[in-house]
């Protein structure tokens, strides 16, 4: 099975080919079945490969397959190489597993949409690209996937290309897709520069070789490594929606809800976290770059969380939440707690995908209503949706026993033990806000009385089985998914943190010599006493509970109580409601000057460049017309001209 890992990204392409070419003529059932089957095969191949990988001894869990040379350049050989190691094993399982559930869900969710085949074609293409991204064994193959998922994201955000999206900003769905694409391009550009830098410096793009080269890097190249680290992270900021490039993700909600769940919550947006973790050796050699990662991650975590408080669109609340949670993951990477970061990536994939699918179910039931202030009391009509979303909400809020608790706790513990109290404080505060806005969402959606129209109330219904089964599976994962990473302190010192054991060998920590990485990692995380750790856990849970109680108290009966508070702090409310005016700020500082510059160049091109070109063309033309007059057609004139030439040439020769 390990030799077949290249098939994992390839199989969904078969689905792309079939649905892309003949999808319009196939019955709907067949289209959905083909798409799901393609992903299911990938999932089975992934499970088989990971199973075999786990049977290998701990230090040898790495297997690479090359499909041949891609770029045989003089100083750089790049192969179509795929590789699996503990890190990509986690990613491949999350991507294909969650991807499969979301594909199944989509069969029901998209049933009423035209262009059913186009949707599944793009979804399968996305799976192929995402799996390429996580399985590529060098940066260029990864970049193929990286750009490929960006393309699919663009295509799927703009899936309803003829519909308006946001009344406030006047964006259409197609605009939202463009915004995502262009914003990502900024990051990708930085990423590509970083990749080229590595290619030039080390003559290889293979992850293993780069890690090896970086470990023995010349101290003089330290500045270069920091620069590359920051450039790569900028790429991650684009893909994973971090400050300053996060603005596209809330608007990416213009896509169909399964897309939001798959691409903009569970998988693609975590690509940046995966990439930073993959390059841990490089970041270990560039602590300054890690500090940047930690700072940006923590700031994004709290910044985005506050924006979630006032949002009304159920999907946008979840989008800000995603940005915030991604910030958590980056903060974890930045303080060296990569294992915790990837752990959170995984649990987040479960509960955030579940939240989005639940939101989709709600939107489906509410006849496409997305404003939570117009919902309420749905618990009775949609029990499965309510209970599954409740599980996910408890998980994201960090309630002990649920998946999110373990991963979030590990991140907080990591920040604390890295001596980074600021990061710890910010993340803890963000956890409280997270709990608050998530329970606000639950309260407004499911509790209180129904605030929608009679028409909507009449149609209100639980979603079909095809949609609720994935919800239930994800709900189970949102609970038990964290149990593979229980901290040692909770088990009385027994080391049962399976996830840590699995992943740690794939990661290089700062200051750790090769081979001693795991030990050092353990050392860092065990640096604080059990009492401190219990205290930290208690504090975090307490902060989350405060958030929950505030939210439940305020919003249980609707939003009147909250409205009064908002009125009393109107400026603050406006600040949050308008998302800190970041979009407006970008518009003013980046877009408008850029457009002005573009218009200037356009005018320059049209009047000066074209003018010169046209003027020279016209001059040539006129000269030609004049010279043409010598072509009289009379032999005597020709002979005269001939003679003129003779005289000049002979005069020259004789005078020499």
């Amino acid at each position: 099975m390990l030799d077949l890992i290249w098939l994992i990204p390839l199989v969904p392409l078969v689905g792309v080919a079939i649905n892309g070419l003949w999808g319009r003529r196939l019955p709907l059932r067949a289209v959905g079945a083909i798409a799901c089957l393609a992903v299911a095969v990938s999932l089975l191949l992934s499970i088989g490969a990971v199973w075999q990988l786990s049977s290998l001894p701990e230090g040898a869990r790495f297997h690479a397959v090359s499909l041949g040379t891609w770029l045989p350049l003089e100083n750089l050989h790049v192969a179509w190489g795929f590789a699996i190691d503990p890190l990509s094993a986690v990613m491949v399982l999350v991507v294909s597993g969650v991807g499969f559930l979301i594909h199944v869900y989509s069969i029901g969710y998209m049933a009423h949409e035209p262009d059913y085949a186009r949707f599944f074609t793009y979804m399968n293409l996305f799976m192929a690209m995402m799996l390429t991204l996580v399985l590529g064994d060098n940066m260029l193959v990864m970049f193929v996937g990286w750009e490929g998922v960006g393309l699919c994201s663009y295509l799927l955000i703009g899936f309803f290309y003829d519909r308006p999206f946001d009344a406030r900003t006047g964006l259409s769905c197609a605009d939202a897709g463009r915004k995502a694409f262009v914003t990502n391009r900024i990051g990708d550009f930085a990423f590509l520069i970083g990749v080229l830098y590595l290619a030039v410096s080390y003559g290889t793009l293979n992850f293993a070789s780069i890690s090896e080269a970086v470990r023995h890097a010349d101290p003089a190249s330290h500045g270069m490594l920091v620069a590359v680290g920051i450039l790569l992270f900028l790429g991650a900021c684009g893909k994973s929606a971090q400050i300053p490039l996060y603005v596209w993700l809330p608007d990416a909600m213009a896509g169909p809800t399964p897309v939001s769940a798959l691409i903009h919550a569970a998988t693609m947006v975590t690509a940046g976290v995966y990439m930073v973790t993959r390059m841990s050796a490089l970041y270990a050699a560039a602590p300054e770059a890690m500090a940047v990662v930690a700072a940006v991650g923590a700031l994004t975590a709290i910044f985005a969380a506050t924006m979630g408080i006032t949002a009304r669109d159920i999907k946008k609340i979840l989008a800000y939440s995603t940005v915030s949670q991604l910030g958590y993951m980056f903060a974890a990477c930045g303080v060296g707690a990569y294992v915790a970061g990837v752990f959170h990536l995984m649990t987040h994939a479960f509960f955030k995908a579940l939240l989005f699918l639940g939101a989709g179910s709600v939107i489906h039931g509410m006849s496409d209503e997305q404003d939570v202030t117009k919902m309420g009391g749905l618990k009775a009509k949609m029990p499965v949706t309510f209970w599954t979303m409740m599980m996910a909400t408890l998980a994201i809020s960090g309630i002990p026993g649920f998946a999110g608790f373990f991963s979030k706790d590990e991140i907080l513990a990591g920040a604390w033990s890295a001596g980074n109290v600021w990061v710890w404080g910010i993340l803890a505060a963000a956890a409280g806000i997270t709990a608050f806005y998530m329970f606000r969402l639950i309260a407004l959606t499911f509790w209180g009385r129904f605030r929608g129209t009679d028409e909507q109330e009449h149609h209100l219904h639980e979603s079909p089985t095809l949609m609720t089964v994935p919800l239930v599976i994800l709900a189970i994962l949102s609970v038990v998914g964290g149990w593979i990473g229980i901290p040692a302190v909770m088990t009385g010192g027994a080391d049962v943190n399976l996830f840590h054991h699995w992943l740690a060998p794939a990661i290089t920590l700062p200051g750790a010599a090769h081979g001693a990485a795991e030990a050092a990692g353990h050392g860092a995380e065990a640096a604080h006493s059990a009492a401190t750790e219990w205290g930290l856990i208690g504090l975090a849970v307490a902060i989350a509970l405060v958030g929950i109680f505030l939210a439940v108290g305020l919003y249980r009966r609707g939003q009147e109580a909250a409205g009064r508070i908002a009125a009393s702090v109107r400026p603050l409310y406006n600040l949050l409601r308008n998302l800190y005016w970041v979009d407006e700020f970008y518009d003013l500082v980046v877009l408008r000057p850029f457009y002005r510059l573009s218009r200037f160049f356009a005018a320059f091109d049209r009047w000066v460049v074209d003018g010169l070109v046209n003027a020279s063309g016209i001059t040539m033309d006129i000269t030609g017309q004049i010279v043409k007059l010598f072509q009289t057609g009379y032999v005597r004139n020709y002979a005269l001209m001939f003679l003129f030439g003779v005289v000049v040439i002979l005069a020259y020769l004789v005078s020499m």
Partner: protein
């Protein structure tokens, strides 16, 4: 130098002349519009093609002998140095025979349409080829003159072949008058050179003129060059070209454009580089300025042309300008560049004129078929003809992947490596200007709505074969030029 005539060395020319006479004698019996299977095989065209083939085989035997000769023997001479066989001459002979063969194969339907399918056409074409091959395989000025006059007189007749067209007759007369005019200068120059050296052998004259040879030599050289410049069509000796190219039957025009330039350039190189290379610092300014003048004037005037034949005429003058650049480069680079360029030029020129012949209606009054306006939409109406024409035009404009691109490349490269920066810059700028009028034809063919014009000539299998060979030649030289570049680089050594 008392050796007797080595008949083997003149076999190619003898074959051409003999077959020419045979065609002339036999055409009353095998020519005309006879029907039947026999006429399909035995006709003047096939006979003439056989003649070219025989000459090519003879030439091939000489080539084998020459390339297999023991070291030191870089050439064969006979008849008191009047026939001079070396790699340089053999290459040009092959090129000329190839051009001749293509014209013979591609002309038949065109001549029928023009009502000029006389056996004389093929006889005259063979005489032209005989004259040219004579001219490129000698070092003797008398032989140069004989070869030149044989092909010139034949071409005068060929130009007036479609005697129903006023333009054809007029252009034949113009060509004859100006050709005689230039021949006068040339013969006078030869006489003066003989006066200086007491020999008509170019290498002897070159040997006698070392040092400071005096004004008689310079005037003699100048007049000789002027005669050649006229044949090559260098500004200001070029003015006959557009009129004659337009008036001559289109297939003859293509032949003239490709073959005359090739033969005359071979002699020019023998004179300037082979014989008088020691005086390079004197003649370099002349050729430099003529190159600049030729390229610039021809390209500028070509911009204003609306008739495809006149446009191609000015284009061929401009090509002569590019070729002159290579004359003043270091011979090790320049001679090979010229040989390569002329090969690519032969394919694209024959091809372009053959397409023009197929498209243009030789209507005596208006000749509308040659107006660019009537080429509108041709690319869609006749996809194969349009695509072929596009390939030839792109090659003339010097756009990869065509032979024309590498032709310009080797010339400009030679110019830069020889320090002729001014010429390289002027050449490139001219190529930019030229691209405009070549692309304009392509734009007309593909992006203009075409009015319904009469159907152009249906492409006969033989014409199709010529076009396929031309397109293939242009593209092969554009994709894999290395072989020919190496070959001509070696052959050029026999001249230098």
């Amino acid at each position: 130098m008392t050796e007797a005539l080595d008949f083997a060395l003149i076999k190619p020319v003898v074959s051409l002349a003999a077959f020419g006479l045979l065609v002339l004698v036999a055409s009353p019996f095998i020519g005309g519009r006879r029907e039947g299977a026999l006429a399909k095989i035995v006709n003047p065209a096939n006979l003439a093609f056989l003649g070219v083939l025989t000459a090519a085989i003879n030439n091939w035997q000489l080539w084998r002998e020459w390339s297999g000769a023991t070291a030191g023997r870089t050439m064969f001479e006979t008849a008191y140095g009047m026939v001079y066989i070396d790699g340089f001459g053999l290459f040009f002979a092959f090129l000329l025979l190839g051009v001749t063969a293509m014209v013979i194969v591609g002309s038949r339907k065109f001549l029928e349409r023009e009502g000029a399918d006389h056996g004389e056409f093929y006889a005259l074409i063979l005489f032209v080829a005989a004259g040219m091959v004579t001219m490129v395989q000698t070092q003797n000025l008398i032989m140069v003159l004989i070869g030149l006059e044989v092909f010139s007189v034949s071409l005068y007749v060929l130009t007036g072949l479609t005697r129903g067209r006023v333009r054809s007759v007029e252009s034949a007369l113009k060509y004859f008058l100006l050709g005689a005019f230039s021949s006068g200068f040339m013969v006078y120059g030869m006489a003066l050179l003989y006066g200086v050296a007491g020999s008509l052998h170019l290498l002897d004259i070159g040997g006698a003129s070392v040092g400071n040879p005096g004004p008689m030599f310079w005037i003699g050289l100048g007049l000789l060059l002027i005669g050649l410049f006229f044949k090559i069509a260098v500004v200001p000796f070029h003015q006959w070209v557009p009129d004659v190219y337009q008036g001559a039957p289109t297939n003859v025009t293509g032949f003239m454009a490709a073959a005359t330039k090739t033969a005359a350039f071979a002699v020019l190189l023998r004179v300037l580089i082979g014989a008088f290379g020691t005086h390079a610092e004197i003649w370099t300014p002349i050729v430099t300025w003529l190159a600049i003048l030729t390229m610039t004037v021809a390209n500028l005037v070509a911009l204003a042309q609306t008739n495809i034949k006149r446009l191609l005429a000015f284009s061929s003058i401009a090509h002569a300008g590019y070729l002159l650049i290579a004359v003043v480069c270091r011979p090790q680079l320049g001679v090979g560049a010229i040989m390569f360029y002329l090969t690519a030029y032969a394919f694209m020129t024959i091809g372009a004129f053959m397409v023009a012949a197929a498209v243009g209606r030789g209507d005596a009054e208006s000749e509308r078929g040659y107006d660019l306006a009537s080429w509108s939409g041709l690319g869609w109406k006749r996809p194969a003809l349009g695509a072929a024409m596009m390939v030839f035009l792109l090659s003339m404009a010097g756009i990869p992947p065509t032979g024309g691109f590498f032709g310009k490349y080797v010339i400009f490269k030679a110019a830069i490596e020889s320090g002729r920066y001014l010429l390289a810059v002027v050449g490139v700028l001219n190529a930019v200007v030229a691209a405009y009028y070549y692309l304009r034809v392509i734009v007309t063919m593909y992006m203009r709505e075409g009015e319904e014009v009469e159907e152009p000539l249906p492409v006969s299998p033989s014409l199709a074969a010529v076009l396929v060979v031309s397109v293939a030649g242009v593209l092969v030289l554009g994709v894999a030029p290395a072989g020919l570049i190496d070959l001509v680089g070696n052959l050029a050594q026999s001249l230098i």
